[in-house]
């Protein structure tokens, strides 16, 4: 139970035969932040998808926060996902809603009371420094700002695990560094975070553990 993420001999073979993950065992401690790196096609996205229950492993066990994901039925997937914060390379914001409504979405999905929503959305937007932008539409924001909205949306429901798949993939180095500082701050408040990135330069100077994937195999750094 001390590990928020635990992979035990996980194999993922896609229909068609491609072996994406080959006997991967790893763990992320509660409150830890780690980078998942490797060349493109190394299996980073597959690993993230297994944690988000977007894919199921071919063999092996994935345990998240004490829950064996093999025992989460299709109908229980929504409830499970509500406890994991997902951050995407392309932000995945809804462009017909304001920044506020985008961030509020996870709380609306959970059926939270209106005044709680307002309070928590403001808090999340304050954390990412976008409180003054709450009435704007995402299209009017820069890429870095859009990703910060994405992060606010991921943390607003206080998930016990934050997963970011190439969060800085579309951003320049300056903005990427800003986003990383934001993750560092979130980690310092106790959130467990796993960040998949192929941007080695970005990770180099940071003191966090690196999990390296190479053609579906795990290399310990």
């Amino acid at each position: 139970m001390n590990n928020i993420v635990a992979f035990d001999n996980v194999v993922k073979r896609y229909p068609g035969g491609k072996l994406a993950l080959d006997r991967v065992s790893l763990a992320l401690a509660r409150g830890e932040m780690a980078f998942l790196t490797g060349h493109s096609g190394a299996g980073k996205s597959t690993l993230m998808k297994l944690i988000g229950l977007i894919e199921r492993p071919t063999r092996g066990r994935v345990v998240i926060n004490g829950t064996d994901l093999a025992r989460v039925s299709k109908g229980q997937v929504p409830r499970y996902r509500q406890r994991v914060g997902l951050i995407f390379q392309n932000y995945n914001l809804l462009f017909d809603r304001t920044v506020f409504d985008n961030v509020a979405l996870p709380l609306v999905i959970r059926g939270q009371a209106h005044r709680d929503i307002t309070r928590r959305v403001r808090a999340a937007l304050d954390t990412v420094g976008l409180l003054s932008h709450e009435k704007k539409f995402p299209i009017t924001l820069s890429g870095g700002e859009q990703q910060r909205v994405g992060i606010a949306r991921a943390v607003v429901a206080r998930p016990h695990l934050l997963l970011a798949d190439e969060p800085t993939g579309n951003l320049d180095p300056q903005l990427s560094a800003d986003i990383m500082r934001l993750f560092t701050r979130l980690n310092e408040t106790g959130t467990s975070i796993m960040i998949a990135t192929h941007d080695i330069d970005l990770v180099e100077g940071l003191r966090y553990r690196r999990i390296i994937l190479d053609h579906g195999h795990l290399e310990q750094a």
């Binding site: 929504p78 409830r79 996902r81 995945n92 979405l105 996870p106 999905i109 059926g111 939270q112 949306r153």
Partner: protein, 322 residues
């Protein structure tokens, strides 16, 4: 301090109230949000609503027509006439006497005697068989008394009267001129059944129209639905605004149908007024009535909901984040 803390029972009541309020708020939000979605693509929505409206107006209009014709046929039943055919050897004087006797009967409104000769003259004029009838020599037609029963007489009493007239001396046969009425009532039954069949077919059409519109709507929102699923939205949560959209389509379609019926009533106003005035106030056109309006709206809501429900589950299941 402890005394001021609410009991656990009170707390659970509070939680229940809160979750019920949350549920109501979520539905109200969906109701308005789905209306907002319709208005954002209002041309496409308006076309859909218009088609639904016309599809609903047709069977409703037929229903109104049948309802009025039924009442009209009831009126005609009261203006029915009895033909009393006299024996061939009865003289015109006997016929005239009988006619005057019958006119004093309380059950009878009025009588008119048509002698054999008058009947033949009328028939010659109407049929154009003049020369052929001349060749017959003898007049083959009997004398006839046309009897109009009192309008207050029930159909059963009219039948009794016909029976009694048939038993009289010098009378060969008395018959009710109601064959055309029976045909009319059969035609009305047919129209009434046809309106049910047409109603069913058009209801199916409404279901498919709504289903198709919702399918396109879902296709347009594929990315949004994927994101919501990634954020942990249940299928019920994603489905809800679409179901409300379907019901809005149905409701607005029903309102359009009411407008269409109203416009038809105005367009037909002139000829309807002529028809009604010929009844000297004894007959008035009725519309759908409050009941009919209620059922039309209920049908619209139900069909919209069904059209959406049969589409949305299948379409949503096909959308999974990758």
């Amino acid at each position: 301090m402890a005394a001021r803390r609410p009991s656990s029972r009170r707390l659970s009541e509070l939680a229940l109230t809160e979750s019920l309020t949350g549920w109501a708020v979520a539905h109200a939000r969906c109701l308005l949000e789905s209306l907002g979605r319709l208005s954002r693509r209002w041309i496409a929505s308006a076309l859909t609503v218009l088609v639904i409206g016309i599809a609903l107006a047709l069977p409703s209009g037929l229903f109104v027509v049948v309802k009025n014709m039924d009442r009209l046929a009831g009126q005609w039943h009261q203006s029915v006439q009895i033909s009393v055919y006299l024996d061939n050897d009865a003289s015109p004087e006997t016929g005239q006497r009988l006619t005057d006797d019958l006119a004093d009967e309380p059950r009878i409104e009025s009588t008119r005697f048509i002698s054999a000769d008058e009947g033949l003259a009328e028939f010659k004029k109407a049929s154009g068989f003049g020369a052929a009838l001349d060749a017959l020599g003898d007049n083959p037609l009997p004398g006839v008394i046309q009897v109009t029963p009192r309008a207050t007489l029930a159909p059963a009493a009219v039948s009794e009267l016909v029976e009694a007239l048939g038993q009289r001396d010098s009378v060969a046969k008395a018959s009710l001129d109601e064959a055309w009425l029976r045909r009319l009532s059969a035609i009305l039954d047919l129209i009434s059944q046809a309106s049910w069949v047409i109603g069913l077919l058009l209801s199916a059409a409404v279901v498919f129209i709504v289903g198709n519109t919702i399918r396109l709507d879902i296709e347009n929102r594929r990315q949004e639905i994927e994101v919501m699923k990634l954020l942990g939205a249940t299928d019920a949560f994603i489905r809800r605004p679409f179901l409300y959209s379907g019901m809005w389509y149905g409701l607005l379609g029903a309102l359009v149908a009411l407008i269409v019926l109203g416009v038809c009533r105005i367009a037909l106003g002139g000829s309807l007024a002529t028809l009604v005035s010929s009844y000297n106030g004894a007959f008035a056109i009725t519309g759908l009535g409050l009941n009919g309006v209620f059922w039309l709206i209920a049908a619209g809501l139900f069909l919209g909901w069904v059209g959406c429900a049969i589409t949305v589950n299948r379409e949503l299941a096909a959308i999974e984040p990758r």
